[in-house]
Point group: C2
Chain length 246, copies 2
């Protein structure tokens, strides 16, 4: 519990490597996460070599955290292994569809979060790379992912070389609803976002980006409609290529 409450994303790592045995223990703990029907429909690609990392890093938009991390873990939705098993056991798999993509993605993400917590428990630091879905197509090529395998997220892992201030969170009541969803009034939004909007780092963010509001930094700079639409089309194409959408 304390470990969860103390979580900070780490973006700068020491050159020191992560011992294989330690990594194995962390991944073992990761694989104890709940999984749909105990099918374990995910795979984890462990990248440590300079050669493969040099192919992956540009696909994560050359983020310094990707360059700095001694280990990149790519968590994939994977119905390939399970389907191969079915085929070899006189069973006809039916997992080339969207529901199975969602199911396998859930499996992959629960395992990913378990891995992150196990890693932090051992003093390691982590950072999720959301860029994975943006460039899923190219990551699939680099990692040789076959049909029915899709990279959902990547975790950069290593020994922390920084101790950043913990980031803010919205008040709990902003994300929790009692019994049913209660939609937000103008007054609710004002109240729930007020703390965040008035943080010194938010004000700095606004001024650095020459914007009028913090929300504009998100819509005009960080998560733009045109980018979101471009990458949405790209992901849908990749899901078709990987056999999850007909």
């Amino acid at each position: 519990m304390d470990l969860l409450l103390k979580h900070k994303t780490i973006r700068k790592f020491l050159g020191k490597e992560v011992p294989s045995e330690l990594l194995e223990n962390i991944l073992t703990a990761g694989c104890r996460a709940s999984t749909t029907g105990n099918m374990q429909v995910y795979s984890i690609i462990v990248t440590k070599s300079r050669a493969v990392k040099e192919e992956l890093i540009p696909l994560h938009f050359n983020q310094p955290v990707a360059k700095s991390a001694p280990v990149l873990l790519t968590f994939c939705a994977d119905f390939n292994r399970f389907s191969k098993w079915c085929e070899l056991r006189k069973a006809i798999p039916g997992y080339n569809n969207f529901l199975s993509f969602i199911t396998a993605s859930i499996d992959a993400l629960l395992a990913a979060q378990n891995v992150c917590i196990a890693a932090e428990d051992k003093g390691l630091g982590i950072c999720y790379l959301g860029t994975t879905t943006y460039n899923a197509k190219e990551i699939i090529e680099v990692l040789n992912l076959p049909k029915l395998v899709f990279p959902v997220t990547t975790v950069a892992l290593g020994w922390p070389d920084e101790d950043p201030v913990q980031t803010d969170r919205l008040p709990l009541k902003a994300v929790v609803h009692e019994e049913r969803y209660k939609d937000y009034s103008k007054h609710d939004i004002d109240e729930l976002y007020s703390y965040k909007e008035n943080l010194p780092e938010s004000l700095q963010f606004i001024s650095e980006n020459n914007k009028e509001t913090l929300a504009q930094v998100f819509t005009d700079v960080r998560y733009k409609k045109s980018d979101n639409e471009f990458f949405s089309e790209k992901i849908i194409e990749v899901l078709k290529d990987q056999g999850f959408l007909s």
Copy 2:
């Protein structure tokens, strides 16, 4: 780490309620999970009342675990709150697309797994209900989820009234790949699934279902192609309805 390694899914709960303060602490720990750009694009619906539970339980196919749990937590991908904030701050949100659905689902699932670990740390038991995506359409109606909100998973939560044997997992090398994906040969599959296939509970599963192999129990009984295809279509329609797919 030990807590993660000891995880068991609990499907039978005591009648004892989960105190509000304890639940609040657990949800607070959940919300420390990593989140894309610190946007927290998820919501958690806490259902405790008999009235709402009676509407939800049939949508989870009347699973005994859903009936037994004093608390149901529905984790939703949510770009509604964030988009409302943008609109009230002279910013034009661009999150009515598939990438944003994936991003928000990732956020929701990392928070869900953190909540589960925090709950187990406090002695509570959990069970994920994969049925959430199957009946997303009806769950949206019951919980009044507006556009840009989609229920990704549900966690049944309570005090354990059973202590089951821990389920098996595939050997770690079945799910972990070094550097790049190494596809599975017949020999690999035989080796990796042998332990699971020969467990007494697997053999019982096969005989109870009058099947020849364990894989057939999955393809013919538990996760059937026809069901997967039916629910895939249904989810895609719901994503359109909720504004995540045009």
